[in-house]
């Protein structure tokens, strides 16, 4: 692709306008939409709190805060993945008729979910206040984690949205896959609780590393360099993979959709 100023401006405009459209269309009443995106992880947090803190008596301090610091970024991940399955199909008419860069649809969707994630931080900060958690300078590193997650999620979404055109039942697999992955990700438990010989599974699971990264920044006031490196590798790696799969399949979209 030619990288000149107009092309760049065009791509920015295209992605922004598509994202704005999504926002307008998906949440006709934007405040209620926002409330909804906060409410659904909070509800899960309450359920897990009852199950694991009250019933099973899990020994994790500030458990609600612990939960939501992982649930919100998880919600971004699953929302984007599930949304990407039918993303191109929902825009079939457009793809058949107009030759705009189709990956813009993916980025604008992921940006949308990212915005909702960013808007959930006030809630996380509120709970940090309630639990008398101190606010450290590590919070300034959050944008880096968000950018890394953006590229990781975009890569995954590019893979799923492109391949789903060829295999239309991929969506169901994604549902099953994300459900399984949830339990392989330290959201309801902490990474320290995982026995040493299973720790490799956490390293192999990109989302586990992102959850740990967010939690380190928010709650533990630290960064583990190896976790940050893994996040970086997964983010670049999956984006590269996703973009190439998309690029290679893209020319067939219009005829099979």
């Amino acid at each position: 692709m030619l990288i000149n100023k107009r092309n760049y401006q065009y791509l920015v405009d295209l992605i922004t306008e598509l994202a704005k459209k999504e926002l307008k269309v998906r949440y006709k009443n934007s405040f209620l939409g926002y409330l909804w995106s906060i409410l659904s992880p909070l509800t899960s947090a309450v359920v897990f709190f009852v199950a694991f803190k009250i019933v099973i008596k899990l020994k994790i301090e500030n458990y609600v805060l612990f939960l939501i610091s992982g649930l919100f970024c998880w919600q971004w991940f699953t929302n984007s993945l599930l949304g990407s399955a039918n993303l191109f199909l929902n825009n079939a008419n457009l793809i058949k008729k107009v030759s705009f860069p189709r990956d813009a649809l993916v980025y604008s969707m992921v940006i949308n979910d990212m915005i909702h994630f960013i808007l959930s931080f006030p809630v996380i900060f509120l709970f940090m206040g309630l639990y008398r958690q101190n606010f450290s300078y590590y919070l300034f590193l959050l944008p880096i984690a968000i950018i890394l997650q953006f590229f990781f999620v975009s890569g995954m979404s590019l893979i799923i949205s492109s391949i789903n055109l060829f295999f239309r039942d991929l969506e169901r697999l994604v549902v099953v896959f994300t459900n399984l992955l949830f339990y392989a990700t330290p959201i309801i438990y902490s990474e320290e609780m995982v026995p040493l010989k299973y720790k490799i599974i956490l390293s192999l699971n990109p989302m586990a590393n992102f959850v740990i990264l967010y939690r380190d920044l928010l709650l533990s006031n630290r960064v583990q360099i190896n976790i940050l490196m893994l996040c970086f590798i997964y983010s670049i790696g999956f984006f590269y993979l996703g973009y190439n799969i998309y690029k290679n399949l893209q020319w067939k979209f219009a005829e099979i959709i």
């Binding site: 401006q9 306008e17 457009l94 107009v98 239309r168 991929l170 005829e255």
Partner: protein
């Protein structure tokens, strides 16, 4: 010497018919069969198409349903890729393929103009500088601030046509879209097309309305089952088509 803006060189287009085994489950459990049906299920939509088009020419493509007209336009718009052969296109292509393709029913006419303009290749700044012209051309007046799900199909066509025709283009593709507007609007569209012709815009016009074809185009290609049967003066080709295909 005139400059060639579109060149088809022995273009062949096969469509693969994937739908027979769509689904990962089917694919994995019936792998050999799936691959076999995949290889067999191909449909040849264009066979060895070659033609050249110069800047400023107006070409009509006519032929029966399924002849391959829309496929040719898809190749020019770079939405499709040829199976073999070469498609050369010089300049900016804007397609009036299906007018409401980029529209969203819940957005207002105005919002749809912006979004559609961008999808057709303009930056936000460019479309904003054109938006008044577009609204005026559409004659939708205060309806422009209503969600377009409240529009009639004619009003939708007006909106779509007004956007596409005002996007600066070197090559304009028109596929079967002018029939929806009322007589007044159709007249206005034909006038606008005349204007573009005078500005050296290359136009490719696909329609079953042979009267319109004769009126607009100087050259005509008759397509039949993916092959060019005739290529020449519009009036003669249309007469031939009328005589042999109806």
């Amino acid at each position: 010497m005139k400059d060639v803006v579109i060149e088809f060189d022995n273009v062949v287009k096969y469509y693969s018919l994937y739908h027979s085994f769509i689904g990962i489950k089917n694919f994995l459990f019936n792998l050999p069969k799936a691959i076999k049906t995949f290889k067999k299920n191909k449909f040849c939509a264009l066979k060895n198409i070659s033609f050249k088009l110069n800047r400023g020419e107006t070409l009509a493509i006519i032929g029966q349903n399924g002849a391959g007209k829309s496929t040719i336009l898809g190749l020019i718009a770079k939405v499709l890729k040829p199976t073999s052969g070469r498609v050369l296109v010089r300049g900016r292509v804007v397609g009036l393929l299906e007018l409401s393709a980029g529209f969203h029913p819940d957005l207002t006419g105005y919002e749809n103009i912006i979004l559609n303009g961008i999808l057709l290749g303009m930056t936000k700044k460019e479309i904003l500088s054109k938006v008044n012209e577009i609204i005026e051309f559409s004659e939708l007046k205060e309806f422009i601030y209503q969600p377009i799900r409240t529009y009639s199909s004619g009003m939708l066509a007006r909106l779509g046509f007004s956007v596409a025709i005002n996007v600066p283009a070197d090559i304009l593709l028109v596929d079967e879209v002018l029939a929806v507007g009322d007589i007044n609007f159709q007249k206005k569209c034909y006038k606008k097309i005349e204007e573009l012709k005078n500005k050296d815009t290359t136009i490719i016009f696909v329609s079953h309305d042979l009267e319109a074809v004769v009126k607009i185009c100087s050259r005509c290609i008759l397509l039949h089952q993916g092959e060019i049967i005739k290529d020449g003066n519009t009036y003669e080709v249309v007469e031939y088509y009328k005589k042999n295909f109806s």
